[in-house]
């Protein structure tokens, strides 16, 4: 049976600094029926540059014992494996290390001393096929995530409450993925409205599910809780149904009594809100830990009064932690600048302007930005 050969050579990037091993791998590939073009670099950093500059079908990563020992080898596998399938070539015949290498994204782990033409060629073929299937799966997953992000947007309140004496506006800029940011308004008749801004930690589906769960409980419980602190305690209990501690929710939750302008809030590990009242500026800082971390957590409830002309801005950390290309942060100064520039603009415009300013600030930064949520309350 004629062997299936490719129309063009398989482009292999070989990372190897040991001359005898380099010669060995080249010799083995020369003997193969299918053709390979091999470019060799001595170390991982050069390989990363090379992968950025040219297309390769596969990476053969020769690892020394020391690199495996200090974890740098595994890190290299993870990094390079995002671009091309990686096969590890090692002098070490160690089952544990081999398994770990595969867990970190290597397609195969071969021992250099036992390299044969058949073994290497077969390994390369399978590695490429698996990598292709994985890339396809990832593309499908990304498509589904886009749909999920769209569904998530529908969880946001469709309208902003009309409150006598106050102008409320909100804006959420999604980073394009499903995220953990949310805001909500809940009418508490006859004369109060609840305002929530939250951020469930972690991106992707886990963060999105936690956000949806939080918002669901919040909507169900807000009306039956007499005070913000009671709501926060109820919410914490509801979210703390398992033991893993790696996901949590920061929440700024306040209730505005509109006849008096009194705003009573709990800040559960959320970034400080900014209150501008005439010439006076204050920040509403965290009054307790985030939700879903501790069963015995304690929060404090505080009350401020929103006088006529006051502006309160509550935001998520994606705003203040926006970074420009010199790694400066947008910070509270950025929030203040937007809020004081044209203080008489409607709340919804201020919220949108602040999101846009933070987005603009981080344009040019190599890192993808986070979700940005802003709620503005203006007292008339």
């Amino acid at each position: 049976m004629p062997s299936r050969t490719e129309s063009r050579p398989v482009r292999v990037l070989l990372i190897e600094d040991e001359p005898t091993d380099l010669a060995r791998v080249n010799r083995v590939l020369d003997q193969a029926a299918s053709s390979f073009t091999v470019r060799a670099v001595p170390e991982v950093r050069a390989a990363a540059t090379e992968l950025g500059a040219r297309s390769y079908d596969l990476v053969l990563l020769g690892l020394a014992r020391a690199e495996i020992g200090d974890g740098d080898g595994f890190e290299a596998i993870r990094r390079l494996g995002k671009t091309a399938p990686v096969i590890v070539l090692s002098r070490l015949d160690d089952e544990d290390i081999a398994v770990k290498a595969v867990q970190r994204g290597a397609q195969d782990y071969l021992v250099k001393d036992r390299l044969t033409v058949d073994l290497l060629v077969r390994s390369i073929r399978y590695a490429r096929e698996r990598h292709r299937l994985l890339a396809e799966q990832n593309r499908r997953l990304e498509h589904e995530l886009k749909i999920a992000a769209f569904v998530q947007q529908s969880f946001l309140p469709g309208r902003v409450p009309e409150v006598p004496g106050h102008d409320i506006g909100a804006h959420l800029h999604s980073s394009g993925q499903v995220g953990g940011d949310f805001y909500d308004f809940i009418d508490l008749p006859p004369d109060r409205v609840a305002i929530a801004v939250g951020d469930a930690s972690g991106k992707g589906i886990p963060g999105a599910i936690l956000m949806a769960e939080t918002q669901g409980v919040l909507r169900a419980e807000a009306a039956s809780c007499a005070t913000p602190i009671e709501l926060v305690r109820t919410l914490n209990r509801a979210l703390l149904h398992d033991q893993d501690q790696d996901r949590f929710v920061t929440l700024f939750y306040g209730v505005l009594a509109f006849p008096t302008g009194q705003f009573t809030f709990v800040n559960a590990g959320h970034p400080r809100a900014l209150l501008l009242d005439g010439a006076t500026e204050s920040t509403l800082v965290s009054t307790g830990p985030p939700l879903r971390l501790f069963a015995d957590a304690a929060w404090e409830e505080k009350t401020v009064t929103l006088h006529a002309g006051a502006r309160l801005v509550i935001y998520s950390d994606g705003v203040t932690e926006a970074q420009d290309d010199t790694e400066r942060f947008f910070d509270l100064e950025g929030v203040r600048a937007v809020m004081t520039e044209s203080p008489d603009r409607p709340a919804v415009e201020l919220a949108r302007d602040l999101c846009h300013a933070a987005e603009e600030f981080e344009r040019g930064s190599p890192d993808p930005g986070d979700d940005k949520t802003v709620v503005v309350i203006r007292s008339r």
Binding site: G71, S201, D246, G269, H270, V285, D317, D367
Partner: protein, 115 residues
């Protein structure tokens, strides 16, 4: 800036010198490294955060879960040299009460390296 991790073993303690942003995928990198250390029995861990200007919420979650993992293995995870922004995050989330934090390496090593 991607996260760089340097490793120093001081007696039975291991110091990881972190440089860059502890955000996005970097928290996975750090989680894997800590798992590897736990696997090899190195469970007296100090994360030197002097070069970390920023930690995002996912990474904070990772620190919490790895703190628990190290503790379950019978060890301890300590934090060293928190920069201002990272410290601010710890205060906001009240986690400064949960983590053992140090501003001097000698103090962080106290009761660790000699064992």
């Amino acid at each position: 800036m991607a996260l760089r991790i340097g490793q120093r073993d001081v007696g039975s303690a291991t110091i990881l010198d972190l440089t860059g942003k502890l955000a996005g995928e970097a928290s996975e990198t750090l989680a894997d490294r800590i798992d590897d250390l736990i696997d090899t029995g190195r469970i007296r861990l100090i994360l030197n955060l002097r070069g970390v200007a920023f930690i995002d919420s996912a990474a904070l979650g990772t620190l919490l879960s790895k703190r628990a993992a190290v503790k379950n293995a019978g060890g301890q995870l300590r934090l060293l040299n928190l920069t201002e922004r990272v410290w601010d995050l710890m205060v906001t989330t009240k986690l400064e009460l949960v983590f053992e934090t140090f501003s001097s390496e000698a103090d962080a090593l106290e009761g660790f390296a000699s064992r």
